[in-house]
Amino acid sequence: MSRPMLARLLRSALPALSLAILLGAIFYLQPRTMSYFGLNLLLNLAVPIALATLAQMCVLTVNDLDLSIGSYVSLTACITATWLNDTPILGVAALLACILAYGAVGALVHLRNLPSIVVTLGLSFVWLGLAILILPTPGGKAPGWIRELMTLKPAYVPFPVIACVVIALVVHVVLMRSPYGAVLRGAGGNPRAVARAGWSLLRVKVTMYMAAGTFGALAGIALVGLTTSADANIALRYTLLSIAGAILGGSEFVGGRVSPIGAVIGAVTLTLAASFLSFLRLNPDFQIGAQGAILILVLALRAVIGRTEADR
């Protein structure tokens, strides 16, 4: 096996490896978590985070970065806890409008060649403002069917595990295995070549932004299903979590190198990291810092691997 291939293999194994190590450590510290109920508790919040991470990954695929996903998930959560519950038709329409808005932003970024960072930073104000207008004070109520879905108790395997696996596989098939998926990723790797082969880059960008909007909306719905109510600030930290999760899962900032399965693993790892630190009786003050340290550690590892790749 050639060195670059080995390096790539190592890099793609890194997310799964870190998840396995973390899980092992948690089981060791708290054997009781090694049960249906324990896992359910541990991984409950992983579902919305995984969905938000996939949203971020979609934007990363086309070499952009989304700094608005956190407030977007908050907004969709607020819509879910209010309109979707009270007048479902209005709720569905509002969520669809949100997804279309995401696509429009993608078109704007592409047509005017704007830096996605600043556009989405501005967009985060917009989503947050809308969320506050819809739900000025924390409250609302999760629609019953969502609540039921998120608290399903299937036999043998806890729901969050099934949900994460299904989500990861579906996105993997669509993005990594479908014929158009290759074009979508190719547009991140060498846009000029893809355009020269006759594909529309505008369509690619709008597709990926709308996909991000869809996953963001699903994340909001899933989150409300767990928390039963919403507030405008409910998911603000998802912006950072989603970037960290996607990077942890092996996605790159440029070049269209992404991995949906990795992204879900990264999101789960981050969710578990929080529990792990509390099991360690680590001062909760260090939790955020530990997340940052994990991110830097992974990036450092990746830099080392990348250097061997460059050496060939």
Binding site: I117, S124, V126, I132, A303
Partner: protein, 316 residues
């Protein structure tokens, strides 16, 4: 066409015009009541925005992808550390400030180190370091709220004829930074890198050193803001930097700095900072809530960069 170009060459006029328009609208609504007071308060709060925005502007000027996301965390850490070390003692004001500056230098070096060593985009480097800095602040703070030295508190709230002294001081600093940007080798290099980093290197400019200095300077400005803000608001709080990330970027963009890099101006920061604060005041006066305010702020940012950002892309 020429006229439009010239207009955008003086983009700070735009920010000031918007600020004045909003102020007049507010004053008209209250029939002139308290208009002077509103302006005085606006200057007080705009001052803090401007301090962080100066640093952010230099970073953004370095070109696409350059932005410092660690500003809020740096503010919090510098505010916390300096307040605790000063412990309310007036004679410690200067050493306390130097410590805040030292915190900024350490953060800046950390940021540049991550960017260079890990070869990651600045946005991710500053994001990751902000986690750690924030955590350090939480750990150091331990929920205590140490009161600032009385002289510092007095200084940050003092006014001459309705004009905050701090604002006057920051206007002076802004003037100095204006000269630094346009009339020093350092400033010229920053602008050159932002327009074309490769050409800057081939023109013999010290690209790496200037990048390093810029990130350190940005962190020092953030730390300084944390210091005075903690003095102003009766001590450091863990969430004191929260709104300053978005605000710093918003002020820079609305102030007429090109997010594509290589084109920026200091006066616009004042115009934009005043505008942002006066907008809040106006919407409050009209009885509109935080939701509308955020919505408008976001739309304005997007509109401004859509109008200003596109012209560059067609050249490239």
């Amino acid at each position: 066409m020429k006229a439009i170009t010239t207009f955008f060459r003086q983009p700070w006029l735009f920010a000031f015009a918007a600020a004045i328009a909003v102020w007049i609208a507010t004053a008209a609504f209250t029939q002139g009541q308290g208009a002077g007071e509103v302006l005085s308060v606006a200057f007080t709060f705009a001052t803090f925005f401007v301090i962080v925005a100066i640093g952010q502007m230099f970073v953004v000027t370095l070109g696409p992808g350059n932005v410092d996301l660690s500003i809020p965390a740096t503010m919090t850490l510098a505010g916390t550390v300096s307040m605790k070390i000063m412990d309310g003692l007036n004679w410690m004001i200067l050493p306390g400030y130097l410590i805040a500056v030292a915190v900024g230098v350490v953060v800046g070096v950390l940021n540049v180190g991550l960017i260079r060593v890990l070869r990651i985009p600045p946005i991710i480097a500053t994001l990751s370091s902000s986690f750690i800095i924030q955590s350090a602040a939480i750990w150091y703070n331990r929920g205590l709220r140490v009161k600032p030295p009385t002289m510092l508190a007095d200084f940050t709230t003092a006014k001459i004829a309705g004009m905050p002294i701090l604002a006057l001081l920051v206007i002076l600093i802004a003037a100095v930074m204006h000269v630094v940007l346009n009339r020093t080798i350092y400033g010229r290099t920053v602008i050159a890198i932002g327009q074309n980093a490769r050409a800057a290197r081939l023109a013999g400019l010290e690209v790496n050193r200037v990048r390093f200095l810029t990130y350190v300077m940005c962190a020092v400005f953030a730390a300084s803001c944390g210091y005075v803000l903690a003095g102003f608001s009766g001590g450091a709080a863990l969430n004191m930097g929260q709104e300053y990330l978005l605000a710093s970027v918003a002020v820079v963009v609305i102030g007429g700095t090109s997010v594509a890099g290589g084109f920026s101006n200091i006066p616009g920061l004042w115009g934009a900072a005043l505008f942002l604060f006066l907008l809040v005041t106006m919407l409050n006066t009209f009885g509109l809530g935080a939701g509308v305010r955020l919505l408008l702020t976001g739309l304005i940012i997007i509109a401004v960069i859509t109008l200003a950002g596109g012209s560059r892309s067609s050249e490239r």
